[in-house]
Protein backbone atom coordinates (compact mmCIF):
# COMPACT_ATOMS: atom_id res chain seq x y z
CA UNK A 1 0.00 0.00 0.00
CA UNK A 2 2.74 2.41 0.93
CA UNK A 3 4.36 1.59 -2.40
CA UNK A 4 1.43 3.08 -4.32
CA UNK A 5 1.62 6.27 -2.27
CA UNK A 6 5.37 6.45 -2.65
CA UNK A 7 5.12 6.10 -6.45
CA UNK A 8 2.59 8.93 -6.58
CA UNK A 9 4.67 11.27 -4.42
CA UNK A 10 7.74 10.70 -6.59
CA UNK A 11 6.00 12.78 -9.27
CA UNK A 12 6.35 15.81 -7.00
CA UNK A 13 9.21 15.64 -4.49
CA UNK A 14 11.84 13.17 -3.44
CA UNK A 15 11.09 11.88 0.04
CA UNK A 16 12.97 9.46 2.26
CA UNK A 17 11.24 6.12 3.03
CA UNK A 18 10.78 7.43 6.59
CA UNK A 19 8.97 10.52 5.33
CA UNK A 20 6.64 8.41 3.16
CA UNK A 21 5.98 6.16 6.18
CA UNK A 22 5.24 9.21 8.30
CA UNK A 23 2.72 10.41 5.75
CA UNK A 24 1.07 6.98 5.47
CA UNK A 25 0.88 6.72 9.26
CA UNK A 26 -1.21 9.89 9.62
CA UNK A 27 -3.67 8.75 6.91
CA UNK A 28 -6.77 6.75 7.75
CA UNK A 29 -7.18 3.56 5.71
CA UNK A 30 -10.72 3.28 4.39
CA UNK A 31 -12.22 0.35 2.50
CA UNK A 32 -15.47 0.57 0.58
CA UNK A 33 -17.62 -1.69 -1.54
CA UNK A 34 -18.57 -0.68 -5.08
CA UNK A 35 -21.28 1.95 -5.66
CA UNK A 36 -20.89 3.51 -2.21
CA UNK A 37 -21.37 7.24 -1.82
CA UNK A 38 -18.49 8.85 0.06
CA UNK A 39 -20.16 12.22 0.22
CA UNK A 40 -23.69 13.38 -0.55
CA UNK A 41 -24.75 16.70 -2.01
CA UNK A 42 -24.88 19.30 0.79
CA UNK A 43 -22.53 17.48 3.18
CA UNK A 44 -19.12 18.81 4.13
CA UNK A 45 -16.13 17.00 2.69
CA UNK A 46 -13.90 15.70 5.49
CA UNK A 47 -11.29 13.81 3.49
CA UNK A 48 -8.92 13.97 0.61
CA UNK A 49 -8.71 10.38 -0.67
CA UNK A 50 -5.70 8.81 -2.30
CA UNK A 51 -6.83 5.72 -4.22
CA UNK A 52 -4.66 2.70 -3.43
CA UNK A 53 -7.00 0.35 -5.24
CA UNK A 54 -10.24 0.79 -7.12
CA UNK A 55 -12.12 3.33 -9.13
CA UNK A 56 -14.32 6.25 -8.12
CA UNK A 57 -16.21 9.09 -9.75
CA UNK A 58 -17.29 12.60 -8.92
CA UNK A 59 -20.47 14.16 -10.31
CA UNK A 60 -23.18 16.75 -9.85
CA UNK A 61 -26.86 16.65 -10.78
CA UNK A 62 -28.28 18.70 -13.62
CA UNK A 63 -31.99 18.14 -13.16
CA UNK A 64 -32.35 14.36 -13.24
CA UNK A 65 -29.02 13.81 -15.00
CA UNK A 66 -25.67 13.00 -13.46
CA UNK A 67 -22.82 15.03 -14.93
CA UNK A 68 -19.50 13.31 -14.23
CA UNK A 69 -16.52 15.64 -13.86
CA UNK A 70 -13.90 13.15 -12.68
CA UNK A 71 -13.15 9.44 -12.94
CA UNK A 72 -10.18 8.50 -10.73
CA UNK A 73 -8.21 5.28 -10.52
CA UNK A 74 -5.29 3.84 -8.52
CA UNK A 75 -2.62 6.41 -7.82
CA UNK A 76 -4.95 9.40 -8.12
CA UNK A 77 -6.71 11.72 -5.71
CA UNK A 78 -10.43 12.24 -5.38
CA UNK A 79 -12.68 14.29 -3.10
CA UNK A 80 -15.23 17.06 -3.28
CA UNK A 81 -12.31 19.46 -3.47
CA UNK A 82 -13.98 22.86 -3.09
CA UNK A 83 -15.95 21.67 -0.06
CA UNK A 84 -12.75 20.19 1.37
CA UNK A 85 -10.82 23.45 0.88
CA UNK A 86 -13.56 25.87 1.98
CA UNK A 87 -15.57 23.82 4.48
CA UNK A 88 -18.74 24.73 2.57
CA UNK A 89 -21.50 22.20 1.71
CA UNK A 90 -20.55 20.00 -1.24
CA UNK A 91 -22.11 20.66 -4.64
CA UNK A 92 -20.78 17.30 -5.82
CA UNK A 93 -21.31 13.64 -4.98
CA UNK A 94 -18.35 11.25 -4.83
CA UNK A 95 -19.11 7.54 -5.30
CA UNK A 96 -17.06 4.38 -5.79
CA UNK A 97 -17.40 2.48 -9.08
CA UNK A 98 -15.36 -0.56 -7.99
CA UNK A 99 -14.50 -1.72 -4.44
CA UNK A 100 -11.90 0.76 -3.18
CA UNK A 101 -9.07 1.10 -0.69
CA UNK A 102 -8.06 4.64 0.20
CA UNK A 103 -5.54 6.51 2.22
CA UNK A 104 -7.76 9.32 3.47
CA UNK A 105 -6.34 12.58 4.81
CA UNK A 106 -8.42 14.94 6.91
CA UNK A 107 -8.03 18.70 6.66
CA UNK A 108 -6.62 18.81 10.21
CA UNK A 109 -4.03 16.20 9.32
CA UNK A 110 -2.91 18.20 6.31
CA UNK A 111 -2.76 21.47 8.26
CA UNK A 112 -0.66 19.72 10.94
CA UNK A 113 1.70 18.47 8.24
CA UNK A 114 2.06 21.96 6.77
CA UNK A 115 2.91 23.32 10.20
CA UNK A 116 5.41 20.56 10.98
CA UNK A 117 7.85 20.77 8.06
CA UNK A 118 8.32 22.92 4.93
CA UNK A 119 8.67 19.80 2.78
CA UNK A 120 4.92 19.18 3.19
CA UNK A 121 4.17 22.75 2.13
CA UNK A 122 6.21 22.21 -0.98
CA UNK A 123 4.43 18.92 -1.64
CA UNK A 124 1.07 20.63 -1.04
CA UNK A 125 1.92 23.39 -3.48
CA UNK A 126 2.96 20.95 -6.19
CA UNK A 127 -0.08 18.71 -5.74
CA UNK A 128 -2.38 21.74 -5.72
CA UNK A 129 -0.72 22.98 -8.92
CA UNK A 130 -1.29 19.57 -10.49
CA UNK A 131 -4.99 19.55 -9.56
CA UNK A 132 -5.38 23.09 -10.85
CA UNK A 133 -3.74 22.23 -14.17
CA UNK A 134 -5.84 19.08 -14.57
CA UNK A 135 -8.95 21.21 -14.19
CA UNK A 136 -7.65 23.67 -16.79
CA UNK A 137 -6.85 20.80 -19.17
CA UNK A 138 -10.36 19.37 -18.72
CA UNK A 139 -11.89 22.76 -19.54
CA UNK A 140 -9.72 23.24 -22.64
CA UNK A 141 -10.48 19.71 -23.81
CA UNK A 142 -14.17 20.54 -23.77
CA UNK A 143 -13.72 23.79 -25.68
CA UNK A 144 -11.03 22.95 -28.21
CA UNK A 145 -11.95 19.52 -29.48
CA UNK A 146 -14.88 18.01 -31.32
CA UNK A 147 -16.86 15.12 -29.89
CA UNK A 148 -14.96 12.58 -31.99
CA UNK A 149 -11.58 14.11 -31.10
CA UNK A 150 -12.42 14.03 -27.37
CA UNK A 151 -13.40 10.39 -27.66
CA UNK A 152 -10.20 9.39 -29.46
CA UNK A 153 -7.93 11.47 -27.20
CA UNK A 154 -9.43 9.95 -24.07
CA UNK A 155 -9.30 6.43 -25.44
CA UNK A 156 -5.64 6.82 -26.47
CA UNK A 157 -4.64 8.06 -23.02
CA UNK A 158 -6.92 5.83 -20.90
CA UNK A 159 -7.50 2.63 -22.83
CA UNK A 160 -7.68 0.64 -19.58
CA UNK A 161 -10.67 2.63 -18.32
CA UNK A 162 -12.77 1.52 -21.28
CA UNK A 163 -12.72 -1.98 -19.84
CA UNK A 164 -13.52 -0.89 -16.31
CA UNK A 165 -15.99 1.97 -16.51
CA UNK A 166 -19.64 1.62 -17.58
CA UNK A 167 -20.17 3.23 -20.95
CA UNK A 168 -22.79 5.70 -19.72
CA UNK A 169 -20.27 7.08 -17.17
CA UNK A 170 -17.63 7.60 -19.85
CA UNK A 171 -20.18 9.27 -22.12
CA UNK A 172 -21.18 11.65 -19.33
CA UNK A 173 -17.55 12.42 -18.44
CA UNK A 174 -16.70 13.18 -22.07
CA UNK A 175 -19.92 15.16 -22.54
CA UNK A 176 -21.02 12.90 -25.39
CA UNK A 177 -24.61 11.70 -25.91
CA UNK A 178 -24.85 7.94 -25.15
CA UNK A 179 -26.09 7.20 -28.70
CA UNK A 180 -23.22 9.18 -30.22
CA UNK A 181 -20.82 7.33 -27.93
CA UNK A 182 -22.00 3.94 -29.21
CA UNK A 183 -21.83 5.14 -32.80
CA UNK A 184 -18.25 6.43 -32.34
CA UNK A 185 -17.23 3.17 -30.74
CA UNK A 186 -18.44 1.11 -33.69
CA UNK A 187 -17.01 3.56 -36.18
CA UNK A 188 -13.56 3.46 -34.60
CA UNK A 189 -13.57 -0.28 -34.14
CA UNK A 190 -13.81 -0.77 -37.89
CA UNK A 191 -11.53 2.09 -38.92
CA UNK A 192 -8.81 2.28 -36.35
CA UNK A 193 -7.00 -0.99 -35.57
CA UNK A 194 -4.79 0.62 -32.90
CA UNK A 195 -7.78 1.64 -30.83
CA UNK A 196 -9.94 -1.38 -31.49
CA UNK A 197 -8.08 -3.51 -28.93
CA UNK A 198 -9.00 -1.07 -26.18
CA UNK A 199 -12.57 -0.91 -27.41
CA UNK A 200 -13.26 -4.59 -27.82
CA UNK A 201 -13.59 -5.33 -24.13
CA UNK A 202 -15.99 -2.53 -23.27
Amino acid sequence: MVKALSAYLKNFVSLTPEEVEALASVAEVHTYDKKVRLIEYGERERYLHFIVKGLARKYFMRGEDEVITQIAKEGELICSSVSFLTGKPSLYIVETIEPCVFYSFSKETIDDLYASDPIWQKLGRLIMTDLFLKKEAWELERVLYTTQERFVRFLSANGDLFQRVPQKFLASYLNIQPETFSRLKHLLKSRNPQLSAALSGS
Binding site: F60, M61, R62, V67, V82, R125, M128, L131, L140
Partner: protein
Protein backbone atom coordinates in the same frame (compact mmCIF):
# COMPACT_ATOMS: atom_id res chain seq x y z
CA UNK B 1 4.69 48.57 -23.64
CA UNK B 2 6.40 50.62 -20.96
CA UNK B 3 8.26 49.51 -17.86
CA UNK B 4 7.45 51.43 -14.71
CA UNK B 5 8.90 51.64 -11.26
CA UNK B 6 7.09 48.95 -9.36
CA UNK B 7 7.37 50.65 -5.97
CA UNK B 8 4.93 53.30 -7.17
CA UNK B 9 2.20 50.67 -7.32
CA UNK B 10 3.21 48.54 -4.35
CA UNK B 11 0.37 49.73 -2.08
CA UNK B 12 -2.30 49.08 -4.64
CA UNK B 13 -0.83 45.72 -5.64
CA UNK B 14 -0.59 44.62 -2.00
CA UNK B 15 -4.23 45.56 -1.40
CA UNK B 16 -5.28 43.50 -4.46
CA UNK B 17 -3.21 40.47 -3.48
CA UNK B 18 -4.57 40.66 0.05
CA UNK B 19 -8.01 39.96 -1.36
CA UNK B 20 -6.75 36.50 -2.35
CA UNK B 21 -4.32 35.66 0.44
CA UNK B 22 -3.23 37.74 3.43
CA UNK B 23 0.27 39.16 2.96
CA UNK B 24 2.18 41.30 5.44
CA UNK B 25 3.73 44.49 4.12
CA UNK B 26 7.14 43.14 5.10
CA UNK B 27 6.71 39.86 3.18
CA UNK B 28 5.37 41.65 0.12
CA UNK B 29 8.37 43.98 0.08
CA UNK B 30 10.67 40.97 0.06
CA UNK B 31 8.77 39.73 -3.01
CA UNK B 32 9.03 43.02 -4.91
CA UNK B 33 12.49 42.35 -6.41
CA UNK B 34 11.04 39.26 -8.12
CA UNK B 35 8.14 41.13 -9.71
CA UNK B 36 7.78 43.41 -12.70
CA UNK B 37 5.20 45.92 -13.84
CA UNK B 38 4.03 46.52 -17.34
CA UNK B 39 1.75 49.04 -18.96
CA UNK B 40 -0.12 48.08 -22.11
CA UNK B 41 -2.40 49.68 -24.64
CA UNK B 42 -5.85 48.49 -25.64
CA UNK B 43 -6.14 45.27 -27.67
CA UNK B 44 -2.53 44.38 -27.08
CA UNK B 45 -1.49 40.72 -27.14
CA UNK B 46 0.39 39.50 -24.07
CA UNK B 47 0.61 36.04 -25.60
CA UNK B 48 -0.43 34.42 -28.86
CA UNK B 49 -1.43 30.77 -29.26
CA UNK B 50 1.66 28.77 -30.21
CA UNK B 51 4.01 30.89 -28.09
CA UNK B 52 5.23 29.79 -24.69
CA UNK B 53 3.85 31.50 -21.60
CA UNK B 54 6.53 32.79 -19.25
CA UNK B 55 4.53 35.20 -17.09
CA UNK B 56 1.84 35.15 -14.47
CA UNK B 57 -0.03 38.48 -14.43
CA UNK B 58 -2.01 40.29 -11.76
CA UNK B 59 -4.31 42.92 -13.26
CA UNK B 60 -3.77 46.14 -11.29
CA UNK B 61 -5.83 48.23 -13.71
CA UNK B 62 -7.64 47.27 -16.88
CA UNK B 63 -9.00 44.11 -18.42
CA UNK B 64 -7.37 41.08 -20.01
CA UNK B 65 -9.11 38.22 -21.75
CA UNK B 66 -7.97 34.68 -22.42
CA UNK B 67 -9.37 32.99 -25.51
CA UNK B 68 -8.96 29.97 -27.74
CA UNK B 69 -9.42 29.85 -31.47
CA UNK B 70 -11.32 26.77 -32.66
CA UNK B 71 -12.09 25.74 -36.22
CA UNK B 72 -15.47 27.41 -35.98
CA UNK B 73 -15.09 30.35 -33.63
CA UNK B 74 -13.20 32.18 -30.94
CA UNK B 75 -14.02 31.11 -27.38
CA UNK B 76 -13.38 33.48 -24.51
CA UNK B 77 -12.35 31.51 -21.43
CA UNK B 78 -11.50 34.19 -18.89
CA UNK B 79 -12.08 37.90 -18.34
CA UNK B 80 -9.64 39.23 -15.76
CA UNK B 81 -10.25 42.62 -14.16
CA UNK B 82 -8.61 44.48 -11.28
CA UNK B 83 -7.25 42.00 -8.73
CA UNK B 84 -7.54 38.92 -10.95
CA UNK B 85 -4.65 36.66 -11.91
CA UNK B 86 -4.31 35.52 -15.49
CA UNK B 87 -1.89 33.41 -17.51
CA UNK B 88 -1.86 30.46 -19.89
CA UNK B 89 -1.64 27.89 -17.12
CA UNK B 90 -0.62 24.73 -18.96
CA UNK B 91 2.00 26.50 -21.08
CA UNK B 92 3.47 28.27 -18.04
CA UNK B 93 3.82 25.14 -15.95
CA UNK B 94 4.61 22.47 -18.54
CA UNK B 95 6.71 24.74 -20.81
CA UNK B 96 4.67 23.77 -23.86
CA UNK B 97 3.26 26.01 -26.63
CA UNK B 98 0.12 27.77 -25.48
CA UNK B 99 -3.25 26.73 -26.89
CA UNK B 100 -4.75 30.04 -25.83
CA UNK B 101 -4.04 33.74 -26.40
CA UNK B 102 -4.08 36.62 -23.93
CA UNK B 103 -5.16 40.06 -25.06
CA UNK B 104 -5.98 43.29 -23.23
CA UNK B 105 -9.41 44.76 -23.87
CA UNK B 106 -8.55 48.07 -22.15
CA UNK B 107 -5.29 49.92 -21.54
CA UNK B 108 -3.93 47.94 -18.60
CA UNK B 109 -1.41 48.03 -15.79
CA UNK B 110 -0.11 44.56 -14.98
CA UNK B 111 2.05 43.25 -12.19
CA UNK B 112 3.85 40.09 -13.28
CA UNK B 113 6.29 37.43 -12.25
CA UNK B 114 8.47 35.49 -14.67
CA UNK B 115 8.35 31.68 -14.33
CA UNK B 116 12.06 31.46 -13.46
CA UNK B 117 11.72 34.22 -10.87
CA UNK B 118 8.77 32.40 -9.31
CA UNK B 119 10.95 29.33 -8.86
CA UNK B 120 13.66 31.50 -7.30
CA UNK B 121 11.08 33.12 -5.03
CA UNK B 122 9.94 29.74 -3.73
CA UNK B 123 13.55 28.76 -3.05
CA UNK B 124 14.73 32.01 -1.52
CA UNK B 125 11.64 33.16 0.41
CA UNK B 126 10.39 29.96 2.10
CA UNK B 127 7.24 31.62 3.47
CA UNK B 128 6.05 31.86 -0.12
CA UNK B 129 5.48 28.08 -0.30
CA UNK B 130 2.49 28.37 1.98
CA UNK B 131 1.22 31.58 0.33
CA UNK B 132 1.37 29.86 -3.04
CA UNK B 133 -0.63 26.88 -1.75
CA UNK B 134 -3.31 29.25 -0.48
CA UNK B 135 -3.31 31.23 -3.71
CA UNK B 136 -3.61 28.08 -5.81
CA UNK B 137 -6.46 26.88 -3.62
CA UNK B 138 -8.28 30.14 -4.30
CA UNK B 139 -7.71 29.90 -8.05
CA UNK B 140 -8.82 26.27 -8.03
CA UNK B 141 -12.03 27.18 -6.19
CA UNK B 142 -12.79 30.02 -8.61
CA UNK B 143 -12.21 27.78 -11.62
CA UNK B 144 -14.44 25.08 -10.15
CA UNK B 145 -17.21 27.56 -9.39
CA UNK B 146 -17.10 28.93 -12.92
CA UNK B 147 -17.19 25.45 -14.44
CA UNK B 148 -20.11 24.47 -12.26
CA UNK B 149 -21.99 27.66 -13.19
CA UNK B 150 -21.31 26.94 -16.83
CA UNK B 151 -22.36 23.29 -16.73
CA UNK B 152 -25.16 23.12 -14.20
CA UNK B 153 -27.20 26.24 -14.97
CA UNK B 154 -29.54 27.11 -17.80
CA UNK B 155 -28.50 29.85 -20.21
CA UNK B 156 -30.86 32.30 -18.55
CA UNK B 157 -29.63 31.50 -15.02
CA UNK B 158 -26.03 31.80 -16.18
CA UNK B 159 -26.66 35.21 -17.69
CA UNK B 160 -28.55 36.58 -14.69
CA UNK B 161 -26.13 35.17 -12.10
CA UNK B 162 -23.12 36.59 -13.91
CA UNK B 163 -24.58 40.03 -14.67
CA UNK B 164 -25.89 40.31 -11.14
CA UNK B 165 -22.40 39.89 -9.71
CA UNK B 166 -20.51 41.69 -12.53
CA UNK B 167 -22.87 44.46 -13.75
CA UNK B 168 -20.00 46.64 -15.02
CA UNK B 169 -18.92 43.99 -17.54
CA UNK B 170 -21.87 44.81 -19.83
CA UNK B 171 -20.25 48.20 -20.31
CA UNK B 172 -16.61 47.15 -20.38
CA UNK B 173 -16.73 44.09 -22.62
CA UNK B 174 -17.97 43.88 -26.23
CA UNK B 175 -21.19 41.92 -26.30
CA UNK B 176 -19.84 39.28 -28.66
CA UNK B 177 -16.99 38.48 -26.27
CA UNK B 178 -19.22 38.42 -23.20
CA UNK B 179 -21.65 36.10 -24.97
CA UNK B 180 -18.80 33.76 -25.88
CA UNK B 181 -17.51 33.79 -22.30
CA UNK B 182 -20.93 32.82 -20.96
CA UNK B 183 -21.41 30.31 -23.80
CA UNK B 184 -24.58 32.03 -24.93
CA UNK B 185 -25.51 32.57 -28.59
CA UNK B 186 -25.29 36.28 -29.55
CA UNK B 187 -29.00 36.44 -30.47
CA UNK B 188 -29.99 34.87 -27.15
CA UNK B 189 -27.66 37.26 -25.34
CA UNK B 190 -29.43 40.30 -26.88
CA UNK B 191 -32.79 38.87 -25.91
CA UNK B 192 -31.67 38.23 -22.33
CA UNK B 193 -30.25 41.74 -22.07
CA UNK B 194 -33.70 43.13 -22.71
CA UNK B 195 -34.86 41.34 -19.56
CA UNK B 196 -32.65 43.64 -17.54
CA UNK B 197 -34.34 46.87 -18.58
CA UNK B 198 -36.07 48.46 -15.62
CA UNK B 199 -39.84 48.16 -15.71
CA UNK B 200 -39.85 45.17 -18.05
Amino acid sequence: MAEDDISLYADRALALINEHVPFSRELFERCLPYLGIRRTGRREFLLRAGEQEEHLYLVVDGLVRKFAQTAKSEKTLQLATEGHLIHSELSYHYKIPSQVSLQTLEPSLLLFIHRDRQEALHREVPEMQEKSVRLLERLFIEKDERQLLQLSHTVRERFLTYIDSHPEMLRRVPQKILASYLEIKPETFSRLKRLLRPGV
